[in-house]
Symmetry: C2
Amino acid sequence: MTARAIHHVGVVVEDLDPVVETYERLLGGQLELRRTVEALGIEAAVIRFGDDRVELIAPLGDDSPLAGFLESRGPGLHHVAYEVGDVRGTLARLKEQGVELVDEEPRIGIFGHEIAFVHPDSVHGVLTEVVAGG
Amino acid sequence: MTARAIHHVGVVVEDLDPVVETYERLLGGQLELRRTVEALGIEAAVIRFGDDRVELIAPLGDDSPLAGFLESRGPGLHHVAYEVGDVRGTLARLKEQGVELVDEEPRIGIFGHEIAFVHPDSVHGVLTEVVAGG
């Protein structure tokens, strides 16, 4: 695959409001969108810096996969997402290369585009997302 | 301060060569530079994706601050760096706002530009770097 760009950096937080405020006030970012995705068990806010984005994600409840992340590691960096032309084709090519996928099929992310996660064991410890380009 | 863009995402690795190969082969990134900085105790490689960058950093020896990070957390995401117009002025404004700084004075990073780190406790668990725009 060829990633055209980094689409966003994903950061896990406990509670969105104070973190959005920090990214706006300290770093001068601008809130691009805020959305709750029950199916993913998350609430998210996206902060823009020019063409770049930080995606802040908070667990919706104790069942959310992010709740376990927060408990074991605390708030902080979670994943890097790359923009690709075609998520399904990318997954097929990665699988051919022996890459361990979290998502065998694309699902719809908070931007309304197809996304999929690649297991960190295949990317030297970094949870890696691919996102369909806008 | 106003960050214009995300300059790079920093990732700690044990050994640069296999990770550079993974980012080139799996993700289609292009090696932009590779440099050893004895003063920082690191060896670094920068991978480009369009206008975006992943900075892979490996400890030079057991004394490197990164050696402790690897021991406690393993390889993975380490920091996010934002491009600013003026690192010294940014540090002064952050300090006025009560932000905890790792570097009170700018130092020179692997790109040859002024950089400084902001303590993760002031950014909800994310080690944050500011880099002078090129």
